[in-house]
């Protein structure tokens, strides 16, 4: 069906296979492969996959809008059940094929993964040039790209979960890449444990869907095929009545479990605390995994399963609340952090919170558009920050920077573009996506004006914390000897930054949507076959006022930075003196790490210690020792029979023989 099946099969095999080939080649060849080859192979396979994705996109766009979803089976994995039983009620085969769905949503994600990913791979060639683990790094990076593509392209719940878990592993391996640092290993472990919580929730959701989903006729489907599942929960289909004994409660439960999975992956409260720690990994990893792709997988999940959330308004409301809450909390924390990468990490958390919020209130296209522009400007910010860190010889503390504007003549404007796009300043990409998102918040949310007010206040915080970073890094006087001796990175690191800066400037023009005025709708039209079209807007006047207010608030944030740091009209310690509690709350990241330490880690460790002191020695060791002692004691007793005198054995033998014969003789008689 749709675009030629063999064509789609070949191309999707290439998209998935090329990064996999890179991973296998680099990891199996190990140190036999010279860096010169890896330098071309690592980024090459990802960029080649990007070309294949673009070809698939063009091929998809040539189809009519209703016909843009193609599912091809690449590999028949499991086929259970007898085919001739098909059609008889209650008995049917179970198929779990490795199939991919190529539809606009998957393609947008694949473009980000391979496109932004490819640029970051090129950058890594420069950033990791002096690292001993150069080959290992590219092996993991290619593995990550493969896993992420499996996750977004899979047409099957099982392979979606496999991809979901594989990205968690790749993320773990890359966070703990510098395994000589105990803090990096601890951060990797923390990230992985959090991911496993999400994996578990996703697996439970998959089981619930598998066991309870009914076809329109009321027959249980027992399918793991995503197109089948999403078609059957779609509007006009029989779902709420067919949810088994729990009815509407079950679909809410499925929605909440999916939310737990999404929250773990996307670092949303209460599973957020791994993301700032993940900044222990190399900076390209932060850009690729913890800004552009993996952390946005949660948004993808919610949008992909939007038919379920449409049936479960309670779950969708919780999604929106958690997204918005995380957006505000992370933005507040970002204002006081001293580590340049951590500020950007909290910014990522905050922006993804907005996307999750947007997906929760039903503005799916706006959420994905924000995801799309965010991938460019956040990867840009991370890579530019990487250049700064590189120039300062692995120094990440904002307090040691300053005055880098002239010393990094290419990185400075690129970082500035990223900051402007993130803040939502007109003509940069973030402005278009964020204003569309906020306009939807004004029109769609259940308590609309308030949701909009909270969402737009994030704008103020966002532009404040990112321009605080801009000022502390690039302006003022150098505050360390490294900052005085800084020099610009080589072209292999500056060119990718410039490419991303161009994208972060222009990507917004794909969709222009101001309060009911839509001169350009390329993006939402592209996604329309998958997520439908949401064009609910407040009145034109209110929309325009909202647009102006949002933009003004962003500018205000920059103004506050100028007042505090540039013109010194306001004292720097204004908040830390007047609102000390708020400052401490922000600096200590709302104390979540301490809460988890006290509430979860300590009790679990105490339980473990108790087990190791009582249960293990008494129960397990005790049982083993008891068996050993019983056997030893018994054999001590029997030992006395063994004298070693042959005649005693013979006597016993004869005695028993005589007794046996007597018994036999008596019985015969």
């Amino acid at each position: 069906m749709t675009i030629g099946t063999s064509f789609a099969t070949v191309l999707s095999t290439l998209v998935l296979g090329l990064p996999l080939l890179g991973f296998l080649g680099i990891s199996l060849a190990g140190s036999h492969l010279s860096r010169r080859i890896v330098r071309w192979l690592g980024p090459g396979v990802v960029l080649a996959a990007f070309v294949c994705v673009l070809v698939l996109l063009v091929a998809t766009l040539t189809r009519p809008a209703a016909d843009r979803s193609t599912t091809v089976v690449l590999w028949q994995w499991l086929q259970l059940g007898v085919p001739r039983w098909h059609g008889i009620a209650g008995t049917q085969g179970f198929n779990a094929d490795f199939a991919v769905t190529i539809d606009p949503l998957a393609l947008v994600m694949a473009i980000i993964i391979t496109g932004v990913g490819g640029v970051i791979h090129v950058y890594s060639v420069g950033y990791m040039a002096d690292d001993r683990g150069f080959n290992r790094f590219f092996a993991y990076m290619n593995l990550f790209v493969t896993s992420m593509l499996v996750l977004v392209l899979s047409a099957n719940l099982i392979f979606l979960i496999i991809g979901w878990s594989m990205v968690a592993f790749a993320s773990y391996a890359l966070i703990a890449f510098w395994y000589q640092r105990p803090s990096a290993v601890a951060a990797g472990r923390k990230a992985y444990i959090t991911q496993v919580i999400g994996d578990l929730a996703l697996v439970l959701a998959a089981f619930l869907i598998f066991l309870n989903l009914r076809a329109p006729g009321g027959r249980l489907l027992h399918t793991v095929s995503l197109p089948a599942i999403l078609a059957d929960v779609g509007p006009g289909h029989h779902f709420s009545g067919g949810l088994g004994p729990l009815g509407g409660g079950l679909v809410t439960l499925v929605g909440l479990l999916l939310l737990v999975g999404a929250a773990a992956k996307s670092a949303q409260w209460p599973l957020h605390s791994w993301l700032p720690d993940a900044m222990e990994g190399p900076t390209p990893v932060s850009a690729l995994i913890h800004a552009a792709t993996m952390v946005t997988a949660g948004v993808y999940l919610v949008v992909r399963f939007h038919p379920i959330f449409q049936q479960a308004p309670v779950a969708a409301g919780v999604v929106a609340a958690i997204g918005l809450g995380t957006a505000v909390m992370a933005a507040v924390i970002g204002c006081t952090q001293h580590d340049i990468k951590r500020v950007i990490a909290y910014s990522t958390m905050s922006q993804i919170g907005l996307m999750i919020f947007s997906a929760g209130i039903g503005a799916y296209s706006a959420a994905i558009f924000q995801l799309f522009t965010h991938a460019f400007f956040k990867a840009l910010l991370f890579l530019a920050a990487g250049n700064v860190i590189h120039a300062l010889h692995d120094q990440q503390d904002l307090r040691t920077m300053g005055g880098l504007r002239r010393r990094l003549p290419l990185t400075y404007p690129a970082f500035l573009v990223g900051a402007l796009a993130l803040s939502g300043i007109p003509i940069f990409a973030g402005w278009f996506s964020k204003e569309e998102l906020l306009a939807n918040a004004l029109a769609l949310g259940p308590a609309t004006p308030w949701l909009w007010v909270i969402g737009v206040s994030v704008n103020l915080l966002t532009s404040f914390y990112i321009f605080r970073v801009v000022w502390l890094t690039f302006h003022g006087a150098p505050r360390s000897t490294q900052a005085e001796a800084a020099h610009e990175a080589p072209p292999v690191m500056t060119v990718p930054v410039v490419v991303l800066a161009v994208c972060a400037t222009l990507a917004g023009f794909l969709e222009i949507d101001f309060a009911g005025w839509h001169p350009v709708t390329a993006f939402s039209t592209l996604l329309q076959p998958v997520v439908g079209l949401v064009r609910a807007h407040a009145s034109a006047g209110a929309g325009l006022a909202a647009l102006l207010a949002g933009t003004l608030l962003s500018l205000t944030g920059i103004g506050v930075v100028a007042l505090v740091y540039a013109w010194r009209v306001l004292p720097v310690d204004l908040v830390s003196r007047r609102l000390a509690w708020l400052y401490r709350l922000s600096l200590e990241k709302f104390y979540w790490d301490q809460i988890y330490e006290m509430g979860l880690a300590r009790p679990v460790m105490a339980l473990a210690h108790a087990c190791s002191r009582v249960v293990e020695p008494r129960m397990f060791d005790g049982t083993v020792r008891g068996v050993r002692d019983a056997v030893a004691g018994l054999s001590q007793d029997f030992r006395t029979f063994q004298t070693g005198y042959l005649r005693e054995y013979a006597t016993v033998f004869f005695a028993f023989a005589v007794v046996g014969l007597l018994v036999l003789g008596l019985r015969l008689a």
Binding site: Q642, G644, Y645
Partner: protein, 102 residues
């Protein structure tokens, strides 16, 4: 052979067996114990042959020949063991071998 003689043969066999058994139990020289075992085996052979004649079948004789063959094999193994023990300890006393239990 007249049937009246059968109790005599059986009695002789029983006596041989008892003498052999006592030898096994009481003597300490392994060679003598070995000869006693041969005595017991031959007592059993005598019973087999006697009953073979009594029932006018060849089964008893055949069995006796099998026993003689097995006894020959057993002698080979047993004498090898005794020679080995003698070479090691220069003494032949079964009770001394009780140290093998350790």
């Amino acid at each position: 052979m007249s049937p009246q003689l059968f109790p005599g043969f059986i009695g002789l066999s029983a006596a041989m067996f008892a003498i052999g058994a006592m030898g096994v139990l009481l003597r300490r020289n392994p060679l003598v114990v070995f000869m006693s075992i041969e005595l017991m085996l031959n007592a059993a052979n005598l019973v087999l042959v006697t009953y073979g004649r009594y029932t006018h079948t060849m089964d008893g004789q055949v069995f006796a020949i099998v026993v003689i063959t097995v006894a020959a094999c057993e002698v080979v193994v047993g004498l090898a063991l005794i020679t080995g023990v003698f070479r090691r300890g220069r003494r032949l006393d079964l009770d001394d071998l009780s140290e093998l239990r350790q």
